[in-house]
Symmetry: C2
Subunit: 372 residues, 2 copies
Amino acid sequence: MNIERNIKTIIVKKPLKLDCGKTIENFPIAFETYGDLNLKKDNAILVFHALTGDQFVTGINPITKKEGWWSYAVGPGKAIDTNKYFVICSNVIGGCMGSYGPSHINDKTKKIFGTDFPVITINDMVNAQYNLLEYFGIKKLFSVTGGSMGGMQVLQFISNFPNKSKTVIPIATTSSHSAQNIAFNELGRQAITADNNWRDGTYNSNNTNPSKGLAVARMAAHITYLSKKGLQEKFGRKLQEREDLKFGFDADFQIESYLRYQGSVFVDRFDANSYLYITRAMDYFDLAKQFKGNLSDAFKETKAKFFIISFTSDWLYPTQENKDIVIALNSIGADVGFVEIESDKGHDSFLLDVPDFLNALKNFLNKSYLEN
Amino acid sequence: MNIERNIKTIIVKKPLKLDCGKTIENFPIAFETYGDLNLKKDNAILVFHALTGDQFVTGINPITKKEGWWSYAVGPGKAIDTNKYFVICSNVIGGCMGSYGPSHINDKTKKIFGTDFPVITINDMVNAQYNLLEYFGIKKLFSVTGGSMGGMQVLQFISNFPNKSKTVIPIATTSSHSAQNIAFNELGRQAITADNNWRDGTYNSNNTNPSKGLAVARMAAHITYLSKKGLQEKFGRKLQEREDLKFGFDADFQIESYLRYQGSVFVDRFDANSYLYITRAMDYFDLAKQFKGNLSDAFKETKAKFFIISFTSDWLYPTQENKDIVIALNSIGADVGFVEIESDKGHDSFLLDVPDFLNALKNFLNKSYLEN
């Protein structure tokens, strides 16, 4: 285990064959843990992060100096109680927080990969992360969970490793990326590659950065994370530090200023090529297709207990897409619970202080833990 | 009347004071007409175009050589029957199809305006177009209609000129741009201004064109014009001329290819600065605010007959926002009809072959015409 710049990593020595056909080996996986692994090693929860997340789930992220992305849900006494559970989270491969990705050096060329990095899939991400179980000597996880792309990894994980988790909690996710989801991701990719500074992905070697394009991609995505109603209630037509419209192109409205801010802070912490790779992995995700169109077959080998959570105002991964997973599980008599949480906060609900959600998550985990 | 490159224009000599405080005069308004004005001059319908529309409503657009944007609705025997009605449509000021806009020469500096063009509003657009009534000697229009931003102009027109139209048909629109609408427009503007070739709006003088940024703006907007369900049914996860995923960043999915195409054809016909100005006008639109928050007051002077049309799958200007207009009209006892059309085609429904919509439009017009 190396520790460099607050990032813990394992180097995976054994070769991993990727879906694209290429094989990677001796590659780093960066991870973080919270709480303590008990003696029986049966209290571990593997958390999977979403598109722009990382391994720093809770507390202060040592790189960005901001709160971890799931601070509302994970921590001492919280829904995922780190006094009780051992939480592991790793940066996905393709990412930019220490795990093997496009900003790493290509051993063969000694240059930064850029778009020479292999296109990876959700399946590849999950197979890479499986190495952490071996590293910690965990035979079976207590739970796997995550929202959005994290939820996709949850579904893929239990499909690949049906006996490796007692419980399974996919949140605000889908078993197959829809045309609209692909469209929004493609929009983000086009914004990045339209930036002259992207330079066919070689910006790192050229000391440039497609930050304008990446900011636009982030703004587009950010709109999809919030609900129309939530935006209206929070921002409406409120003006940004002015009495009236200015008849210009500065940010007159608070929503404009907010979006610009979201774009500008994002580029400081995220790599444009990683954005391309990770959105591509999401778009490629189609679990049913892996089982000749029968989603139920993805889960037929597992005895795990499922709990699926969706949010009323999530229009990116709406309740119906979450229900499709429930239906597939029900049709094979799996142990599955489902709750749709009332929230105006859109897709982002899973990251926010939504008490009904946090309580549901906490209660499911605690009840399942008592059955341990 | 000048005719240059198939574009008919009037030059408005008298000064028009804009909402921003500036005054314009001797400015061109480009327009097109279809059908014949009858002797009583009581069969004219003023059609207002949407964000990226122009005066070429139906038939082949002489500039783009493609079908006019409302060819399904307007023409001989169609809902807006040009055998019966005299249809007038003009390019909005701020636009790029002949009416006064940012690509015109600033008389004072002898340079292309760019972002020196005054910021215009929906109110300014409507006041400019009113000159066409005087030009044609029309005392009262038979109808004013349009969808999306066209619908905003419809509402503003009847508010400004309560006795100047017998009927009023706002379609798929809103009386006030929502935070989500502003957010998507701001995204488009950011995409344009992020393009190095935009050069603070002086690209015309520099022989460059921010076509990549404008294409991204168009892609973003295009996604909002279609419904999630419609996209799923039309594209789903269908692949673009390939047997399987290619594990690269080319367009694997048809939806990606479609969006790229929409972006690329748009930049050939639209001006980036006009996109900035027109989206700004939409964002500034808040009819209730003009009447101290009471939308009903916008309509209290008119005796016109209203017919408001919305579409079930339109999430950009959803039925509720159209209903808010109906409610405001009902509360002052106005003559108002309303229909919500079942369609999976999203906001674009008003431009497409949606028979229930076209029939409703036709029947309302014909019935009202018989009462003439």
